[in-house]
Symmetry: C2
């Protein structure tokens, strides 16, 4: 699979996420007409992610958000109840969406080698489609309150667990030589994260997400070789 194949099978993910937000948080959203609400939620969450991936969530003021969305302060507060709510909703709904897609693709292939390759690709491709979300999870998790931080940690460990399981299967089938599965899974994640955390570097060097994915797969497979 290449990035272009992946991309054309994805519908408008922001709308999917926002429709879910509308349904799950109906108590704190005052607007009742679904189509209008979802349209505005898309506007608000896109703006919030754009601004906070530029300057950080703490430094983004609700007045910045008014300017970016074209909505007034009063209108904004019809779509969430506090600024901190916004932080938590992005974290929870975003992670949930991403986890769903990852699992779906990994379950669709059979062999261990294919699972490892597709896990690497989908993680990179998703972060290419929705980079602000990934940057948000990474940068803002440490500023959340304890309860939300625990959820962020759980998400991080869940992604890692996907790789631990794959490596374990590979070892059992004598496909990989892995001394330390946990440490190996631990270092795969940061290599995937580098793609969105230092995107400027890869843009500057004109490296595409497919080139990066191909490189990572061969680099990791070589390190796993028996």
């Amino acid at each position: 699979m290449k990035f272009s194949d992946f991309k054309k099978h994805q519908s408008d993910y922001v709308e999917d996420i926002c429709r879910n937000i509308f349904r799950e948080y109906s108590q704190s959203i005052k607007i009742k007409k679904e189509e209008l609400a979802v349209r505005n939620l898309v506007n608000i969450y896109n703006a919030a992610l754009k601004l906070s991936s530029e300057k950080g969530f703490a430094a983004m003021s609700l007045r910045d958000l008014c300017r970016e969305t074209g909505l007034s302060m009063g209108a904004l507060y019809s779509y969430f109840s506090t600024k901190e709510d916004l932080l938590n909703i992005i974290q929870e709904q975003g992670q949930k969406f991403i986890a769903g897609i990852m699992i779906e693709y990994i379950n669709a292939v059979d062999t261990v080698v294919e699972k490892l390759r597709i896990a690497i690709r989908i993680h990179l491709y998703l972060s290419e489609i929705m980079p602000q979300w990934y940057i948000f999870f990474f940068m803002e998790a440490r500023h959340m309150v304890k309860a939300e931080q625990k959820k962020a940690i759980a998400s991080e460990l869940a992604t890692e667990q996907i790789f631990i399981d794959i490596l374990e299967m590979g070892r059992q089938q004598k496909l990989f030589a892995v001394d330390n599965i946990i440490l190996t899974a631990s270092v795969i994640k940061p290599m995937l994260q580098d793609w969105y955390l230092k995107r400027w570097k890869y843009t500057r060097r004109q490296i595409s997400v497919d080139e990066y994915a191909d490189f990572l797969i061969q680099f990791i497979e070589k390190a796993l070789r028996r």
Copy 2:
């Protein structure tokens, strides 16, 4: 070399950095007695790094800093001129200090294999000694003004260049098989950064910095094998 060997050869690095700050920024520091000034600078910079690695620099108020240092608002402003100054000084002086140590250790060994190993170790060991500084560079660079951001980018690329040079030498001496030197150097950095960015994970799993260093060296060397 092990971490304990490295640690005992390091003097009080914060004091070294702060003494340098006192000398280079004498115009914006109103206090003239060096010993007093350095003592207070150590207090201030330690506190600022602690607070901003906890909640982020933007979210750290100068009132927080007063509480943490035990100094008053007025006193603080005798040691720097604006809050943003503090950000820039940490970035510049910290990066300068770290770059100096890295170069020193790499130049002290002769062979390419030793240089690769020592570069990995010293990066990890330094980030173990002064994690708040590394976290600060990583998390706050994107919130700096353009001019300071360029310096942060230059530092990132300089570290990477160290690895590019080592890999290039290794290839010329036919010690390493590297298809793509730039991408290989690119992915080494994030594996080093994971040590301080996800320190909680390694603490929880009781993995020491030496274990992590040993693992990384063997993982990378395996991926470079001919």
